[in-house]
């Protein structure tokens, strides 16, 4: 078994070997004893180079369209590594390469601040990258499961390794346990497909899925959705995500949010569209429903958080929801044979996957640098960092604008495509009336999500960077060092670049979508615009010219109106009192109106305790504690957990200690056997 029996493309074989060598090297470097040379930094540098190589490999595969493969090692008759990188896998490699490189570079600086956990678990970072690369290319059930579980284990180690205390351990445990449960669903689904196909290679799963009776095809689909949905963090399988991401070191959270949860999306797309093929309409509607629920609830809960990284974690759920809306419409369209619509929807989903990896990574890295500089992640204790940390502020601002889906950045381009898919589906005759109504309601859902995202990121950006610092830590925060700055700025520029080059990028991604659903209609018209035929007539969003016009108009207004005029600075008007940071709106108060508007869903509870100066009506301290009930955690997981532990306690009474009773069990079982099995 040669190291890389490359299927095609002479150049890509050595590239695969290079990637393997680099990641292997960085793992060894991380394990090396504390030598003079900083092993952690070396390992992260090697990882960064490996990620660049992965990015190049992804680009070659997507642009050349010829799949690249490698098959290494056998365990008990299974192939340990069996990669076949077609254009879909290539796209995800690009995502891994970009986000991975930036996170590794950021990690170098971040480590120096002691923020990235013990050295021992540093070795898990390159393993995590390697497992991600393997998952996206796996072409064999065992190799996929091997990479999948290795990804879960290495990321859990990175999470737990950061700070060995009780709640970090609990978060790491919950994450590993839930992912393992999801993998059980995957194992069963793969087993069913493998037994009908007679082999464990994904290639043979295609016909096997076609030959399955409808009921077991539905079972396989639901199992796969359960398994991949948990990894993607879609509602109601999301509970681990807001607990695990904030606890991990920031460059790991960026990678987990930017790339790892995309493995779930990759799975749903690879199986939902590529392998299982056309299915009944309720498949698409189920994914669409999960998408809308994840989007709306994700952003709602994000709004209520005032821990910056938990807020970003919930936003990952929201963006996964937006991606799943695109995937849901694609599955719906493929099921009903509307390939043009499927092409648009899938392109939108894949484009948003790329965009989310970019802006979510920059936001998490910025959150990491804020925590390193100001020592806290609590928005209510930040403020006024823009002056002290201009680079982080700029990067976070661009990321915030992108995630809120504002033109001309990349977030808007993919959300625009998703809207086109939805409205197109609404007008698509091939879909049933129920599906078309559901899709149009999804338009409202996505609109609500976009508006809530704007609210959330005005809050996050405003509370962190503007006005006066609310705590001493925020007051004397300094700018982070150059490597962290470089990583953040490069990602922010990527957001702007992809935003402006939305035409060519979405055309390339359209090519990937075409490979899966047979047709794509995102062409690049004469002015470098994005042309999307909705039900026959083109709708256009030309990113580049609009961006230029916006800059020119804004620049002109600024030059005429503001630049020459010297602005006098004086105190803010606060009804005559000397202004203090306490007057400013805090994150909790900013989200108050939305908390009241969406009360039925969030069911806010608040507790105000006022302590008076003894004997006088004047309050000495007012303590406000409000929190929002996470309906899924309370209604679904907590009762389940209580029931499980209760049942366990009940069954444990079987082992009551009495010898005579034990013998009675054995005799009863034997008699039962004798009576039943004769």
């Amino acid at each position: 078994m040669s190291i890389a029996s490359a299927l095609a493309g002479a150049g890509s074989g050595p590239l695969l070997a290079a990637i393997a060598a680099l990641l292997g090297g960085s793992t060894l470097a991380a394990i090396a004893p504390r030598s003079r040379l900083n092993p952690r930094g070396l390992s992260l540098a090697l990882s960064a180079v490996a990620c660049v190589a992965i990015f190049v490999l992804g680009m070659t595969v997507v642009t050349s369209g010829t799949p690249v493969g490698a098959r290494v090692g056998t365990v008990l008759g299974f192939a340990l590594i069996d990669g076949r990188y077609d254009s879909l896998a290539g796209l995800f490699l690009i995502i891994l390469g970009a986000a991975g490189a930036a996170s590794s570079v950021f990690g170098i600086g971040y480590g120096a601040h002691g923020g990235s956990g013990t050295d021992r678990t540093a070795a898990a970072f390159p393993v995590f990258l390697a497992s991600l690369a393997l998952v996206f290319g796996a072409d064999d059930a065992f190799a996929f499961l091997f990479a999948w579980e290795l990804m879960a284990l290495s990321s859990a180690l990175l999470v737990v390794g950061s700070r060995p205390d009780r709640d970090v351990a609990r978060a790491g445990y919950l994450y590993l346990a839930l992912t393992h449960l999801a993998t059980a669903a995957l194992i069963v689904a793969f087993a069913i497909l493998a037994s009908t196909a007679g082999s464990t290679s994904f290639g043979s799963f295609g016909q096997a899925a076609a030959s399955l009776p409808p009921l077991s095809r539905d079972v396989v689909f639901v199992l796969l959705l359960l398994g991949f949905g948990t990894k993607a963090g879609a509602i109601p399988l999301h509970v681990w995500l807001p607990r695990a991401h904030p606890v991990a070191p920031s460059h790991v959270s960026a990678l987990m949010s930017g790339v790892m949860i995309k493995a779930g999306i990759y799975g749903i797309v690879r199986f939902g569209l590529d392998i299982l093929g056309a299915g009944p309409e309720w498949w698409g509607l189920l994914v669409l429903g999960i998408g809308v629920a994840s989007a709306v609830l994700g952003v709602l809960y994000a709004l209520m958080e005032h821990d910056l990284k938990r807020l970003l974690a919930f936003h990952s759920i929201e963006n996964i929801g937006i991606i799943l809306i695109g995937v849901g419409v694609a599955i719906l369209a493929v099921g009903d044979g509307a390939t043009a619509l499927a092409g648009i929807a899938l392109t939108a989903a894949l484009f948003h996957t790329l965009n989310h990896a970019l802006f979510k990574s920059v936001l998490f890295l910025a959150a990491g640098s804020i925590q390193a500089a100001a020592g806290t992640r609590d928005l209510n204790a930040l403020g006024g960092l823009a002056r002290a940390m201009p680079v982080t502020a700029l990067a976070f601002g661009i990321g915030a604008a992108a995630i809120s889906g504002l033109p001309p950045l990349n977030g808007f381009a993919s959300e625009w495509l998703t809207f086109q898919g939805l409205i197109g589906a609404g007008g698509e005759g091939a879909l049933s009336l129920i599906a078309r109504s559901a899709v149009l309601l999804a338009v409202a859902g996505l609109g609500l999500t976009a508006a809530l995202a704007v609210a959330c990121f005005v809050k996050a950006t405003g509370m962190s960077f503007l006005a006066l610092p609310r705590s001493k830590g925020a007051a004397d925060a300094g700018e982070t060092d150059r490597t962290m700055g470089a990583a953040m700025v490069s990602l922010a520029l990527a957001c702007i670049g992809v935003g402006i080059a939305a035409g060519p990028v979405s055309a390339a991604i359209g090519g990937v979508a075409e490979g899966l659903v047979g047709q794509q209609r995102t062409g690049v018209s004469e002015l470098g615009l994005v042309a999307v035929p909705v039900v026959g007539i083109n709708a256009v969003y030309s990113a580049a010219p609009l961006a230029v016009l916006l800059v020119v108009a804004a620049g002109a207004t600024w030059l005429v109106g503001v630049r020459r005029r010297k602005a006098r600075r004086s105190a803010t008007w606060t009804c005559g009192i000397v202004p203090e940071p306490a007057f400013e709106y805090t994150a909790t108060s900013y989200a108050k109106l939305i908390r009241l508007y969406f009360g039925p869903i969030l069911r806010p509870a608040r507790e105000v305790s006022i302590e008076l100066h003894p004997g006088t009506p004047f309050p000495r301290t007012v303590r406000y504690r409000g929190q929002v009930s996470h309906v899924i955690d309370e209604r679904l997981y907590r009762p389940l957990h209580r029931a499980a532990v209760g049942a366990a306690e009940l069954v444990r009474r079987l082992q009551s200690g009495s010898l005579q009773l034990y013998l009675a069990y054995a005799v009863a079982a034997l008699i039962a056997l004798l009576l039943i099995a004769r």
Binding site: Q655, S658, Q660, L663
Partner: protein
């Protein structure tokens, strides 16, 4: 010397009947001392029955098996158990899980169930099949009953012995007994089992001060 098959069958039937009676007695009795002697006699009877059939069919291993059974289970075991009984203060099974009357009824019921099961089972014919099999199955069930309803450690060992007698009788009645090597092995294992039980009974007396299994309920869950 050989005896004709006719008398061998009567001898076996007599032994079987006696064994059943002893079994019922064992189930009923509450004094551990008496129980030990009853089980010793019962074991010896199985040895005698084996000797009878051995003489009738001239099967050498049955003879050796019978003699050894009488020797080991008839004499050595009671001595071992007796030594423990003398050291422990409690000689009676004060309140077993089933009262004497109920366990008596249970023992008799077991005999009927066993005979029904024996006839029901489609078994190969063999000279001693007539009465020995129901007795054997009865002893197996009685042994289990005793272990499940007694509190004292020694009573459990007695129950174990009745159970082993039942199995030996089944072996001998179904198939003229196992091959010699296996027969010896089984006897050897029974002997070590009793010795180890003796070791632990003694250690229980030293550490716990009593051989009642009520004190042995601390390991739960």
């Amino acid at each position: 010397m050989t005896i004709d098959p006719g008398t061998a069958r009567e001898l076996v039937d007599a032994c079987a009947a006696a064994i059943v009676l002893l079994g019922v007695g064992l189930a009923a009795t509450r004094s551990i001392g008496r129980a030990i002697w009853l089980v010793a006699i019962q074991s010896s009877l199985t040895g005698v029955a084996a000797l009878g059939v051995g003489l009738a069919t001239g099967a050498g291993h049955l003879l050796i098996g019978g003699i050894l059974a009488i020797g080991v289970k008839g004499f050595v075991v009671p001595l071992v158990l007796g030594s423990i009984l003398r050291r422990s203060a409690l000689r009676r099974e004060r309140h077993p899980l089933l009262g004497p009357r109920v366990s008596l009824v249970a023992a008799v019921a077991i005999v009927f169930v066993a005979s029904a099961a024996a006839n029901g089972a489609v078994l190969g014919a063999s000279v001693a099949a007539s009465r020995a099999l129901p007795a054997a199955i009865a002893q197996v069930l009685t042994g289990l009953l005793i272990v499940m309803t007694r509190r004292k450690a020694l009573s459990l060992v007695v129950g174990l012995l009745v159970f082993e007698n039942g199995i030996a009788l089944t072996a001998f009645s179904l198939t003229y007994g196992m091959p010699l090597v296996v027969e010896l092995g089984v006897l050897f294992d029974v002997l070590i089992a009793v010795v180890v039980a003796w070791v632990y009974a003694r250690r229980m007396l030293d550490v716990l001060g009593t051989t009642s299994t009520d004190r042995l309920r601390s390991l739960r869950g």
